[in-house]
């Protein structure tokens, strides 16, 4: 089962994220898959804006994992933003405490380049694919619902 959205700008990618984010709950794991510049970080920024993180989300590429506190009382207490772009293998993420992050049910976990660590992702992970559209600046955002 999948759902498809078309975005025509960075701003629209963010807005689509904000719209979908209403369905995100604590404990969820989102795996974003797509090439450089396909809108993964913009999508994460939109989710951050929806949940009102205390600080705006920016790229986690360098430090791999960034934690964002949610400003208002909610089931989700922390938005965890992970980037696997620089990883050589999934073990490196496990070394950074990935299991603990998954085990904490107060977290909403967003993982960019999730295809690089598929082996260590839970079955319930929701994958979101980002593809280039035919027209410049357009993107296809495809949400793959988990099987169960």
């Amino acid at each position: 089962m999948q759902k498809k959205y078309i975005s025509s700008s960075e701003k629209e990618t963010k807005n689509i994220a904000k719209k979908i984010a209403a369905n995100f709950t604590s404990g969820m794991v989102l795996g974003l898959i797509g090439n450089l510049g396909s809108g993964k970080t913009q999508f994460a920024k939109g989710v951050g804006e929806y949940f009102k993180t205390k600080k705006p989300i920016n790229s986690p590429t360098f430090v791999l994992i960034k934690l964002y506190a949610i400003a208002q009382p909610a089931a989700i207490k922390t938005l965890v933003h992970i980037d696997c772009y620089r990883l050589q293998n999934p073990q490196e993420l496990l070394d950074l405490g990935f299991q603990e992050i998954l085990a904490n049910k107060d977290n909403l976990v967003i993982i960019e380049w999730a295809d690089k660590i598929k082996d260590i992702l839970p079955l319930k992970a929701v994958f979101i694919n980002f593809e280039y559209g035919k027209l410049p600046d357009t993107r296809k955002i495809i949400i793959q619902k988990p099987h169960n």
């Binding site: 450089l36 913009q42 790229s59 590429t61 994992i65 050589q88």
Partner: protein
Amino acid sequence: MNILAIETSCDETAAAVLHITNGPFTLLSNMVSSQIKIHARFGGVVPEVAARKQIEMVIPVVAEAVKKSGLNLTRDINYIAATQGPGLVTALNVGLETAKSLAFVTQKPLITVNHLAGHALAGLLSPSMSPKKIIFPALALVVSGGHTLLILMKNFYSWKIIGDTLDDAVGEAYDKTAQILNLGYPGGPIIDKLAMAGDSSVFKLPRPLLNNQNFDFSFSGLKTAVLYLINDVTAVSPLKTLGTKTINNICAAFQAACVEVLVTKTLRAIKKYKPQTFLLGGGVSANQALRTTLQEKIALTAPKIKILLPEIKFTGDNAAMISVAAYFKILKKQFANIKNLKANPHLSL
């Protein structure tokens, strides 16, 4: 006084010993894991991210730094300093826990340092510099793979971030652009070199947030613009590939865009806050185009400002800059309590 500093916030394992009385800083030793032949001696490669490798290297690197300094750890070193954050938590832990153990065993005060303060103060390590030569307020531009910050300093203890990146750091944009162009890693030095051989006026790339009156940056759109540019150029090229000249010109256009945005925002901040000193730091501060343009433009707009550019060896992650930042905390007796002390990957300035 003599300070032993340890820095392990990301990929590098580094240690340094700094001596200072009243005058300039004297660096007695400065070791970075990628500089010494640790691979051969300890049989391990330094993978880009594997923080656990830091565990293997931290003791050899610290030992080498102390040995090279010619000092005795117990007798001559007065203070132990370490980076507390920001960075990779597992990497930070290695350096901080090592420093805690050393401080505990040798009964010396421990100082925790913010990695970004270290980068901002790296220019103070130049031979002709001394702390007294810094006149406040000062403006610092810290540019690296993880950060793009404009920082206003009222003194060595008051740090205010006035500009930050909304998405990618500038060094990250260099790395990703180099990746798109298949130029290898790290992207900064390669693009800097190719850009010098190219013509920046052949292709036009956007200047993100240039006219936005605040001091924030955005570099992710620039990387995407390069991607589109490559697609357009490849589509019309007879062989469907990019020639050397074209790659040089794309690098030049990309570099011109980055430098223009960084310099324009810096000048705007200088105009507004009227600093007496300008400090540059971080891995991207090794970029020749950025260094030259900043110097020229600042000299034109605000000739009285003292400009401090770090020596190239102090631009990337190093422990020497951590020892400098620690010095100012020592002056105020800002020592850490070893109990309950933890690394903080999100430490703010």
